[in-house]
Symmetry: C2
Subunit: 249 residues, 2 copies
DNA sequence: GAGTGCATCTCGCTC
DNA sequence: GAGCGAGGTGCACTC
């Protein structure tokens, strides 16, 4: 049996199913009217409302409202979930040790309780990160400009790590700050801080923001100091082009 | 009827229920074996596996695996969700306009499909943020030190906003950088940047990190420049102490 | 276990 | 709608 579901269960049935789901390390979900209190890194209270509760076998605990991507309350993986009955009411509890965090959910009414034993070993294959950009530039320096020769990745300075360090065709030092999406003023400020570390070579170092685009404010800030912007999209090619077609079925 | 659920539905039943749920603006959930492709800000592929799919009435779309807090694939609120049948297979699609993003989910097998019409108007009450800290210090400046008088909140400089500006009992300028949790080197770097704007008063300005704690690295960086750290917990008192007790039921 | 930095960050706010 | 910064950020990675 891959899953169990029960409509409008009694509190004791609900308790039993959740308890069973926890023991079997299933993904448990409830549609329920509930309220929640959280205490830990912050403190919060959530009044009564209709929500969806999810408990995963890794200890993740999520309460989702009917809007937003983020759960309204949650506990991270490795939290310990418990269920108990108190005065005929089902209470869910999730505890984390470090940092100490505690979430308690009182369930007024359950519409649907279910658990699901589906396991999923697949990992997401994703591309288009800053890291992918760095690798692409390292392999194809000419994407920055003809004659560019990168010398260091993650070059350490007192102000942090420079994404890519290199030299142009005239041997002039180049500092590249990569962003996988539109660069803002922060990226420029970061670049300027790195340049501070090379002040002795004043005027001899080129600072370049490499990103798909840049905000107007950031461009202004950049040109103020004679720095440069190079438009470059992060690579969006998955390493293994897994066939995802209808043939599969 | 607050919800519908169907175990092991046929593809066409599944399609019908999802379609109905979308029209009724319900929260739709599926336990299903599926695969997904995403393209937009990045690109990703997720092979076949057992997962939980959630579509909210605000357009949020989530695919959850049996682990982690974050969905493995998702679309943000205001995305447009569609369902269709193709060669007897149910396909879910979610599209966002700006930025252009597209998520497509092919559903191989559905164990449970359901939708839920529960509405939830409750907002989360939460405290313990940096903002709460700022308000607390503004009201009780003596928490920083005897004689401290704050003069500005969110004071604008060329490097950003200073959380709190004020003077000590000797009339010396004080720049406070607040963090609601352990301060790291970034907080110190930020503080140092603000201080740059006051360099003409060199030695006459005190820079202080205010946080519950600080990393060792950050403390070192701080003391290097004769700056200070003040340990202060963010306030954790909810504005209205809403009664959340079992009496409610 | 703590510290650091990226993210399809999300989300709320301001302009 | 774009830009900016905080977050119970989460998460992977390093040390």
């Amino acid at each position: 049996m891959k899953f169990i579901s029960r409509e409008n269960p009694s509190p004791s049935d609900c308790f039993r199913i959740i308890d069973e789901g926890l023991r079997k390390r299933a993904v448990i979900t409830l549609f329920a009217c509930c309220q929640a209190t959280y205490e830990g890194r912050a403190r919060s209270k959530l009044g009564l409302g209709e929500r969806m509760i999810i408990i995963k076998p890794d200890g993740s605990f999520l309460i989702h409202q009917d809007r937003k991507l983020d759960p309204v309350n949650w506990q991270p993986p490795k939290s310990r979930s418990k269920v108990r009955m108190e005065n005929g009411i089902v209470i869910l509890e999730s505890v984390r040790r470090t940092p100490p965090e505690h979430l308690e959910v009182e369930i007024k009414n359950v519409h649907l309780v279910s658990y699901y034993l589906g396991r999923d070993s697949q990992e997401l294959e994703v591309c288009g990160h800053e890291k992918d950009m760095g690798e692409m530039i390292w392999k194809h320096p000419e994407l920055i400009e003809k004659g560019f020769r990168p010398t260091d990745k993650e070059y350490s300075t007192s102000k942090g790590f420079i994404d890519i360090l290199g030299k142009d065709e005239n041997g002039q030092l180049m500092i590249l700050e990569l962003k996988s999406r539109k660069a803002g003023t922060n990226a420029v400020k970061q670049l300027k801080r790195y340049l501070k570390d090379f002040e002795d070579n004043k005027g001899q170092v080129r600072g370049i923001i490499v990103a798909p685009s840049i905000t107007e404010d950031a461009l202004e800030l950049l040109e103020e100091d004679g720095l440069e912007f190079k438009s470059l999209e992060p690579p969006k090619e998955l390493k293994e082009e897994k066939k995802v077609t209808l043939d599969f079925f």
